[in-house]
């Protein structure tokens, strides 16, 4: 089950760390970092059903924003 309740002790700390990780990277490098990060976190979560829920959630936001995407 995907936990969608607030779960980070100090959300601002995480957010700052995320920005720090991307500092000085160009767009390609940022994309590459994000892709590695997703793989690392996915492996940590491990459970496919949870990951599929997360993917659907993320994809849903894209679809909502663009009504022409099917």
């Amino acid at each position: 089950m995907l936990n969608t309740d607030p779960n980070l002790a100090v959300p601002d700390d995480f957010y700052a760390a995320l920005l720090r990780a991307h500092e000085g990277l160009d767009a390609d490098e940022t994309h590459a970092l994000n892709a590695r990060l997703i793989l690392i976190l996915a492996n940590h979560i491990g459970d496919l059903a949870t990951l599929e829920e997360a993917l659907a959630l993320a994809r849903g936001k894209v679809v909502e924003g663009d009504a022409t995407t099917s």
Partner: protein, 537 residues
Amino acid sequence: MNAWASRYTRAFALYPYTRHADQDRDAPVRHPVVIVGGGPIGMALALDLGQRGVGVVVLDDHDGVGQGSRAICFAKRTLEICDRLGPGQRMVDKGEQWNLGRVFRGEDEIYTFNLLPEDGHRRPAFINLQQPYFEKFLVDAIREAQEAGAPIDIRGCNRVVACDPKDDHVALEVDTPDGPYRVEADWLVACDGANSPIRDGMGLGFDGRVFEDNFLIADIRMQAPFPTERRFWFDPPFNPGQTALMHKQPDDVWRLDFQLGWDIDRQAELDEDRIRERVRGMIGDRAFDMVWTSIYTFRCCTMDRYVHGRVIFAGDSAHQVSPFGARGANGGMQDADNLGWKLAAVLQGPAPEALIESYHVERKHAGLENIRNSSRTADFLTPRSPAHALFRDAVLDLVEDHAFARPMVNSGRLSAPASYDGSPLNGADDLPGAPARSRPGSPCPDAPLGDGFLLDHLTEACLLGIGAPVPEAVTIDGVTLKGLTLPADGLIAERYLGSAARSIYLIRPDQHVAARWEAFDPGPVALAVGQMMGRAC
């Protein structure tokens, strides 16, 4: 005599054209089974049927095996099937065994895998063997079976030009160097390859995906000290931005495979000097001869149904996969394995025609599994969008230092036999504590037994008592089962009992598990035998 056009040059002439008495009859002769196409799948099926005493005619439009290797990797399950049919040992003697796969990115080795075959199986995970040898050994085995009386008839230079399916038979028109003749079959099996003229002639679809990529194969002969292992490159210096593969075959032949991309000048790429330059880029400055070159593209397609009345499709005619994972011929061999005993049981009495429908159910399930695996590999090797490329590169970035990323590298998920989960032929699974790998529907795992191996004994329908006695032979509703009582120890216990103390297994003639119980009870066994023969379908 008309001119006989050949579509390819052949490696071995094995069944030269001779005029058959059928050609001089006024009325077409009816045969129990006619197989169209004498590739590996048609020949394996003919051998299986002939050994079961079913009269079978193979019509092939050539007089031997085509030149050029195509398949080189033959999987353990294929070898086990060939052991049952006869030529397994010859294939293994001639083949090259390998376990180590090394993966490179650019100049660096990023990952090594070992197929680590589990102990206690007669056959290795894979051998490499040129497809023409594989086919020749099958035909040699057919010749031996014919001498022993098997009713197999191979007719070379017999091209099927028309196929007319009826309710209870199929009528064929066949062209030969002496002109056309007609012949009929109770059952027709189309093993006529990926471009199946039978399929097209019947107007049946072949749907799936075409992958926009080209690969150059160069089979070369060289003396080289390279070990027998599979080498795979992402973005190597000699083929920048693409992949490459190197694999050993018998007779000092090496399979080199270069990804070329989609927009290529095919003629220019096939230029011998250009190929030699590519080869030297990979192997360095070393003498070699060119054996066979070809550029291939691939698609992953399947028919919707593999059985259409009295016409059955097997091998590449029914389903085609990318070469990654070696699931083409290996998948097709399991089609033949699945179909042989069913056709024999229907033609010889104990099974209703409905049993043939289970061939479609089981092998379509397997076909989709093979397509799923080989499409995923293709997606990894041939990224179709910026996102595909992004995640592929992310995996490769992580691989060297992080074990978790290694299983995500997909340069081919090597062929493994399908378990027929959910098949209508599966009976009871009434053995608490037993391992999932030997559940009903799955292929029997091999294990050492006496001086040999368990699978040596599973050559027909069997009742297997492990730590529990079974009769030596029983006949239930016209089906004869061989009984085999074995002690409950060693790897057999590990692979078939798990934590159960004893068991009874019902095994199909194709070495898949039909049902299992804790003890022999005639009622439930009879029920499962009926189910295995398609009487519940």
